[in-house]
Symmetry: C2
Subunit: 253 residues, 2 copies
DNA sequence: AAGTGGTCTAGACCACACC
DNA sequence: GTGTGGTCTAGACCACTTG
């Protein structure tokens, strides 16, 4: 019989729930407004708390919600656009740099980094920590790996670590002529230290931007920057960025 | 009393589990090898299956594992680097384009897209579907939104839809002079249709690359491309990309 | 102390791939 | 049919923030 299959698609509950919540966010909630707690929401929709949480997790992943332990779940503001990559096309620490230099250490890098640099294993490199703030919120944490021979004239500096030394290392780096830089973005999860700096729990989804700075045909520095995936939209290329956001969210009073 | 807090950090079980599994993947498994099933693994580590799954989910998010319903969990190969953005700096559909044109329709775009284009609401635009394949695997699905007035001389074409019309639309687009393009990357979750095309379940994490093509001071086209976040590393900028991958994984025989 | 989200358990059933 | 990962439940306790 020509009865068209009545679409008996057993759509998962959490998926349907996510759709319903998403529409409710658009029409009934304002940015910053706090939602009912998970137990109440689960009861209201007639599902187990774990199922509700699966929906909330996805919405948080998409940047629609923000959850904080001990506080509650709030409607997130639209993602902020942050410029990465070829925008400046210059060494880190140069003028108009969006980053704040924290400190510096001389340590053996992870094996994967040592491989990308040409340094041998067990060979210590300068590791500069920096952080990036946008709209008053921390959005990224960076580790900059700089082989010792990229900054050969560092003898005059006595501070063994700290912000002063970090700045000195970056200053020395400027003296090299930057040939080009190579960028890559991939999805990762926040390590414990990054998570603390980004005000998130360990394992939170992050966008990892690795940048290789090439000078004199060699890798003179390697940057591994982790951006909060829930709050950031990375823009690159010619300029600006595309504004694509969701429905008519109002600002909470 | 001056006893230093003995760091009684109750690290979550799934987090510790993830670390253990990650090290095991480096040392004891080869790419493509299949892991024991979830029930066995959970029993082996003395945790509930849900807890084990939390660890597996994170490892999959990081591109270390690949899970397929009805089949099993396998060790994933390193992420493939795919070039996006300014690499070509040209209209879609041009020479050396990595994309495969699928079909075309004339429909009203989502509100968010209509806003980014300057078109009014309810005004239909050309929607070209394309897909991108790398190493024999689908890595991205794209929707290209093209306002009707970006391709004014489309009258000679009779095919109302299909691949032929899609190619015709792209061909017409080449006649405009491209001023610049703006790119952005953000995290998202796969819609049902994208998921099918990417061979993933709905909700799977994806990297959404939105590109705005500017010509004659206006947005002449808007591309929304969703890349599999588990298998892709997006490279952009000057050239190539950085190879950062994990420990000594061997190739399965 | 009370309330929130985060973790964890021990089950059950479902959808899918493969034999 | 058998075995896999995916979904769902109804609890419990923990870590954290706030009053």
């Amino acid at each position: 019989m020509g009865t068209t299959q009545l679409e008996t698609v057993p759509e998962p509950k959490y998926w349907h729930l996510k759709t319903v919540l998403s529409e409710a966010l658009d029409s009934e909630f304002s940015v910053g407004e706090i939602l009912p707690n998970e137990r109440d929401l689960a009861a209201r929709f007639g599902v187990a708390r774990a199922t509700l949480r699966q929906a909330l997790e996805q919405l948080e992943l998409e940047g629609r919600l923000q959850r904080r332990r001990g506080v509650g779940t709030t409607v997130a503001p639209p993602r902020v656009g942050v410029a990465v990559g070829t925008a400046q096309h210059a060494w880190p620490g140069g003028p108009n740099d969006a980053w704040q230099t924290l400190d510096c250490a001389l340590e053996v890098p992870p094996a994967a980094v040592a491989e990308a640099l040409v340094t041998g294993r067990d060979e210590p490199v300068h590791i500069v920590r920096r952080s990036r703030v946008s709209h008053g919120r921390p959005v990224a944490a960076e580790l900059l790996y700089i082989p010792a021979d990229s900054v050969p004239d560092l003898s005059g500096i006595d501070a063994p670590s700290g912000t002063a030394r970090a700045r000195a290392v970056l200053r020395e780096l400027q003296r090299l002529e930057l040939e080009r830089q190579e960028n890559a973005v991939e999805l990762g999860s926040a390590r414990a230290d990054d998570a603390r700096e980004l005000d998130r729990l360990p394992g939170a989804p992050v966008l990892v931007v690795t940048t290789r700075f090439v000078a004199r045909g060699r890798t003179a520095a390697l940057s591994v920057a982790t951006y909060r995936a829930d709050t950031c939209r990375l823009t690159f290329g010619d300029s600006g960025g595309v504004e694509i956001h969701h429905g008519p969210e109002r600002q909470a009073s």
